[in-house]
C-alpha cells in the first residue's frame, strides 16, 4: 500500500495540529452510524451475539476501508 499525502494530512483545528488518523476516524463514523441504524431498523441484530463487540468490529472494519480508499492513487 502506497502512502499518500492526502491521507497523511495534518489537520489544524484552532491552533491544534491533530494526528491524521483522527480525521479518518471521524470519516468512518458516518457510515458506521448509518449502518447501525439500518441494522437496528431491519432487526438484523437478531443474528449478533454480543452487540457492542460486533459494533466495535464493524467500526474498525469501516475505518480500515476508509483509510484504504483514502490512499487510493486517484485521490
Amino acid at each position: 500500500m502506497t502512502p499518500s499525502l492526502s491521507f497523511f494530512h495534518t489537520v489544524e483545528l484552532v491552533g491544534f495540529y491533530l494526528p491524521p488518523l483522527l480525521i479518518w476516524a471521524l470519516v468512518a463514523l458516518v457510515p458506521f452510524l448509518l449502518l447501525r441504524a439500518i441494522l437496528d431498523r431491519s432487526g438484523l441484530y437478531r443474528f449478533v451475539w454480543h452487540r457492542s463487540l460486533f459494533n466495535l468490529a464493524l467500526y474498525v472494519l469501516l475505518l480500515g476501508g476508509a483509510v484504504f480508499l483514502g490512499n487510493a492513487q486517484w485521490l
Binding site: 502512502p3 460486533f54 468490529a57 474498525v60
Partner: protein, 292 residues
C-alpha cells in the same frame, strides 16, 4: 433455536476476526509507512567575514535584500590599502634601481677580471655577483608585496559569494570589521532543502532517490522532492566525552524510536512559493518508481 445461536456466534466471530486483521494492517500502515510531520526547511547560510580588517565605510545593501553572486555587500575603508599599494609600488621601483646598479657592478667586475686578472681580486667579483643576486631576490620580494597590497585592496570590497538574500543585517557603517569575524549572513537561495526526521521504524521503507511529497505548513502547498540521502549517525544520548563509554545501567520498559534525519532535495519550486529556513512541513515518501 440452536441454529440461530450458532449463526449469532459465527457472525460475531467473523466480524471480530476480520476487524482484528484490519486493525493490525491499519496499525502497521500508520506506524511503518514513511511519513512524518516532523520536517523542516533548511538552507545553507554563508557567514560573511572580511579578509582584511578596517572600518566599514559603505553597506550598499539593506536587510533581506536579494543579491546576486558578485554584488557588493560592504566596503572597508580603502585609504589605508591605497596607501599600502603606493608604498609597495615605490618599494618595487627602489628594488628595481638597486638591482640594476648591482647587476651593472657585477658585469663590470667580471669584464675587468677577464681582461686583466691582476686588476681586481676574485673575491671582489664574487661579492659583487652575490650582491646582484640578492638585489634580484629583493626585487621579487617587493613585487610579491605589491601583489599582496593589490589583493588587500581588492578584498576590501566584499562581494556576495552566492545568489541569495542578506539576512539579519546588524552591521552599520562605521563598525570596525575584523579579519575572520562575520559581519553579515547571506542565505544561499539555491540551496533550500528539507530535513525530514523519520522514526527509525519507518526507515526500511525509504530508498535513496525515491520521490517525496512535501506539504508546507504555510499555505498547504505541495512540493515535489527526492530523497537525497539519510544521515548515517545521530548523537548517542549516553556518549561520553572521554575514551570510555558511559553506559547508563537502566533497562527500558518503554523504548522511544529515534529520529533519523533524511535529506530531501526540492525539485522545481514554483516561483510564488517563498521558502524560509525553519518552516515546518509534512513529508510522505513514495516507493521508488519502477525503471521502465
Amino acid at each position: 433455536m440452536a441454529v440461530t445461536g450458532v449463526i449469532r456466534f459465527l457472525v460475531t466471530l467473523i466480524a471480530v476476526v476480520a476487524a482484528a486483521l484490519v486493525g493490525w494492517w491499519l496499525w502497521n500502515f500508520y506506524t511503518l509507512s514513511p511519513w512524518t510531520r516532523d520536517a523542516r526547511v533548511v538552507v545553507n547560510v554563508v557567514d560573511l567575514a572580511p579578509d582584511v580588517s578596517g572600518l566599514v565605510t559603505e553597506i550598499p545593501v539593506i536587510d533581506n535584500q536579494q543579491v546576486r553572486k558578485g554584488d557588493v555587500l560592504f566596503v572597508i575603508d580603502k585609504d589605508r590599502f591605497n596607501l599600502a599599494l603606493q608604498q609597495a609600488r615605490a618599494r618595487v621601483a627602489q628594488a628595481q634601481a638597486q638591482a640594476r646598479l648591482a647587476s651593472d657592478d657585477a658585469n663590470r667586475d667580471a669584464q675587468v677580471l677577464a681582461q686583466d686578472s691582476s686588476a681586481v681580486s676574485a673575491v671582489t667579483v664574487e661579492t659583487s655577483r652575490t650582491r646582484a643576486e640578492a638585489a634580484t631576490a629583493a626585487l621579487q620580494l617587493a613585487q610579491s608585496e605589491l601583489g599582496t597590497a593589490q589583493l588587500n585592496l581588492e578584498r576590501s570590497t566584499v562581494r556576495a559569494p552566492v545568489n541569495g538574500f542578506v539576512t539579519n543585517l546588524t552591521a552599520t557603517v562605521g563598525d570596525y570589521a575584523d579579519v575572520g569575524t562575520p559581519v553579515l549572513a547571506v542565505v544561499d537561495s539555491d540551496s533550500f532543502y528539507v530535513a525530514a526526521y523519520f522514526m527509525e521504524t519507518k526507515l526500511p521503507e525509504i530508498r535513496i532517490g525515491a520521490p517525496a511529497e512535501v506539504r508546507l505548513m504555510a499555505g498547504g502547498r505541495v512540493l515535489k522532492g527526492k530523497v537525497q540521502g539519510l544521515s548515517r549517525a545521530i548523537a548517542s544520548p549516553t556518549a561520553a566525552g572521554g575514551l570510555l563509554a558511559s553506559v547508563n545501567p537502566n533497562f527500558e520498559w518503554i523504548r522511544l524510536a529515534q529520529r533519523i534525519p533524511v535529506r530531501i532535495t526540492l525539485e522545481d519550486v514554483p516561483a510564488e512559493v517563498e521558502l524560509a529556513a525553519g518552516m515546518s512541513a509534512t513529508v510522505v515518501i513514495r516507493p521508488p518508481e519502477a525503471s521502465p
